[in-house]
Amino acid sequence: MKRREFVKKSVGAGFVTGTALAFGSINNLFGKVPLPDSPADLVAVKGGNPGQMFDRGIEVLGGIEKFVKPNQTVVIKPNIGWDRGPAQAANTNPQLLTRIIEHCLKAGAKEVRVFDHTCDVWTKTYKNSGIEKAVKDAGGKIVPGNTEGYYQKVDIPKGVKLTSAKVHELILESDVFINVPVLKHHSSSRLTISMKNLMGVVWDRRFWHRNDLHQCIADYATYERKPDLNIVDAYNVMMRNGPQGVSVSDVVNMKTQILTTDMVAADAAATKFFGSNPADVLYIRKANEMGVGEIDLEKLTIERIMI
């Protein structure tokens, strides 16, 4: 019964919250993904602390109210992969999450839930990343992702290698889905940004590694329940030894943030901070070719904000 409910909801979610999505897929034909009622496709903010940058960035996008309506449930998916402290930037910045949750609650969200399918022991990872406390203090709810029972099977019709996956129930049942990756070097996928971050909403990740990692990342990005908003945390950036890092010497204080509804655009823009060409990161190129979003930053309206 519950499972059926999920399926219904996940289909419903496509209609209810999917205005941005629907526009997104139509507009892909023209190579553009505009935000509703906003002149900018992508907002890049630089120079402040994570909270400040989010305040300014979301303001340009028309405020969180554009995405979160009163009485809606929100799921936030940060990167909480590793049992490392905030200084090592292996996980999303807790301050940023605090501010996002505050905005959501102010906009009238019924509940804001946060989870990740961690790599390291989840209890330690939630705690030592500083995220558990940040979420609770901000009034959000931290939810485990450690057992298969939380994950429901969905089909990914456009997937080439990954044609189905078990996805965390919160992604399927929440009204609003906010993806908050941290930008990092990554030994497997080269860089981890918004699309790679979604690997943490599925149960079986070994399948991805066995069956062409880049293709699976792109495949999952085609799944209909895309994030309604991506906020790339590039405040502290792990430049090497990712995704876990060895010490703080791997980290550069970049003080940057990227906000967009287009995952491919987010990843393409973030790639530039590593001095790389987005098309060289295979999954970004594949996702663009599969129509997930725009890789060519020239074609986007970018709002740049310096604090």
Partner: protein, 530 residues
């Protein structure tokens, strides 16, 4: 009747120890602080003795306290401190409630040959460097295994049931916990032991403590000379026999007015039932009473009982050895072809702080506390990794988990010194083994696609991705910074054989610090690269 409160005190103390030790073992959420665990287990005889021999430190003299207690008060350890003893009392209690006809104990002759042979075998083996009989017979360790193997899974099942009900209401305060499937062969000994102990205590009180338990027999040697003793007052005694009826150890002969102090566990049951104040717990002798135990025949119980049990165990093992746990396949379509080169591990991996395989296997009584406490589920009872005599001693099983980089939980809880306490910063350098890369199994080589799961999980970047064909990257291991935590092995997605696995060190080493180079900045502070 003045001894009622003494007996009550004994019951209270025993319940306190029982509950504390049980809590320590069922703490699957790691809530209990290490100091509490150490305190609760401080007086456990065998763990304390082993740790003392290992460390020669005054901080672990719990067993000496027990010896002193025994010398002063008799075998109070058995009645109050030993969790298995209390467990037997609980069973005995229920047996009395369940049986229509109330159990009446009566004096029985001791099984000296059996109990002293078992003690002698245990001691001789231990002196010769084998902990095997301690592992099999120690009451604390057996109690620990009963909780770890049989009670914890039930508790976790209940937890998960509650968690899933609450989860459907979006309440996540109680969360599900993975149940690790222990090979069922490993259940055989603890299960047989549980059945044996339950049956013995159900039918005859503390029989186990006086025929099998080496700790009981050892303390019995000392309690003959204890200062306080239960003694008869010949003048008052009417030989009514009420005292013998409640004697769990069958060691009280009211006709002869003799108590076998080597078997008396100071349960004090006999004291309050005496209607004529003829039995007392006193320091001073009120009359001469020898423990005078005559030699008896022991044909009532076969002394090769234990050998038979082991033979049965070995037989069962040989039957089931071939059975492996089937791997679960996802029902999605996979193009991946199975890996071909089997892993060749020379040594098993012992937990951080165990120093060496020798130190670990010589001090571990397989109580299972570290297995219950390990938050990563990496510590699992071994099957044949350490050979047959090391069965149930835990090893690092990198198929169920990997050692969390900064976690030192097992070394904090281990009561025997098999895993010695290590500071967090030292733990991250302990090299338990070294990762071996098998290119022929690796996805990058066989499928020509990127993978890198091993390098991703490596906490020291000892597993690094280096250029391979085209744009591909393939793993390479830097031995001297590898700590053998098994994260790479766990993460490696190849089946059935891993493309990277940890071969244990027989003696742990210290890994080098990973080198830190300065980072060059790629982007200027105040501009966007797009």
């Amino acid at each position: 009747m003045q001894y009622t409160s003494l007996k009550k005190l004994r019951v209270i103390i025993s319940m306190v120890f029982f509950v504390l030790i049980t809590l320590v073992f069922i703490d699957y959420r790691n809530i209990i602080p290490e100091e509490f665990t150490r305190g609760a287990l401080y007086l456990q005889f065998i763990p304390s003795l082993l740790k003392f021999i290992n460390l020669l430190s005054v901080s672990v003299v719990g067993f000496i306290v027990v010896l002193v207690l025994t010398f002063v008060f008799g075998r109070v350890y058995c009645s109050s401190i030993c969790p298995l003893g209390v467990f037997m009392d609980v069973v005995s209690f229920f047996s009395r409630k369940l049986k229509k006809k109330k159990k009446r104990f009566r004096y029985k002759k001791p099984h000296n040959i059996l109990r002293y042979s078992l003690l002698a075998i245990t001691v001789i083996f231990f002196a010769a460097g084998s902990i095997y009989f301690i592992l099999l017979l120690d009451p604390y360790s057996n109690f620990g295994r009963i909780i770890t193997y049989f009670v914890n899974p039930v508790i976790i099942l209940v937890n998960n049931g509650v968690a899933s009900i609450l989860g459907s209401f979006n309440v996540y305060a109680i969360f599900p916990v993975e149940i690790q499937s222990v090979r069922f062969e490993l259940w055989i000994y603890p299960l047989l032991f549980l059945i044996l102990v339950t049956w013995m205590s159900f039918t005859d009180g503390r029989l186990f403590c006086n025929i099998i338990c080496p700790v009981g027999t050892l303390l019995g040697l000392l309690s003959r000379f204890s200062l306080f003793k239960i003694r008869f007052d010949e003048e008052n005694c009417t030989s009514c026999g009420l005292c013998a009826r409640v004697c769990k150890s069958d060691c009280l002969d009211f006709k002869e007015q003799i108590i076998d102090y080597s078997r008396c566990v100071e349960c004090f049951n006999c004291l309050p039932v005496c209607p004529s104040d003829a039995i007392k717990y006193t320091y001073k002798k009120t009359g001469y009473h020898n423990s005078g135990i005559k030699k008896i025949k022991t044909d009532s119980l076969p002394d090769d009982h234990d050998k038979k049990k082991r033979k049965f165990l070995t037989l069962l093992l040989s039957v089931f050895t071939g059975s492996a746990i089937g791997s679960i396949k996802l029902d999605t379509q996979e193009e991946y072809k199975d890996s071909t080169v089997p892993e060749e591990k020379e040594f098993p991996v012992t937990p951080p702080g165990s120093l060496s395989i020798r130190n670990f296997t010589h001090n571990c009584t397989a109580c299972g506390l570290c297995v219950s406490a390990c938050p990563s589920d990496v510590l699992q009872p071994s099957f044949k990794e350490y050979g047959l005599t090391g069965m149930m001693q835990p090893h690092m099983d990198y198929h169920t988990g990997y050692c969390n980089f900064e976690c030192t939980r097992c070394s904090e809880v281990c009561p025997t010194g098999a895993i010695l306490s290590v500071p967090e910063d030292e733990k991250t350098r302990i090299q338990m083994g070294i990762a071996k890369f098998v290119k022929e199994n690796c996805i990058v080589h066989t499928e020509k696609t990127d993978c890198g799961a091993c390098s991703e999980h490596c906490p020291t970047k000892a597993v690094k991705m280096i250029p391979y064909e085209g744009d591909l990257l393939i793993p390479e291991v830097t031995d001297d910074i590898c700590i053998g935590c098994g994260a790479c092995e766990f993460a490696c997605p190849t089946t059935p054989f891993k493309a990277i696995y940890v071969d244990g060190h027989s003696i742990h080493e210290i890994a080098k610090e990973p080198e830190e180079e300065k980072l060059e900045k790629l982007v200027e502070e105040d501009e966007f690269p797009f």
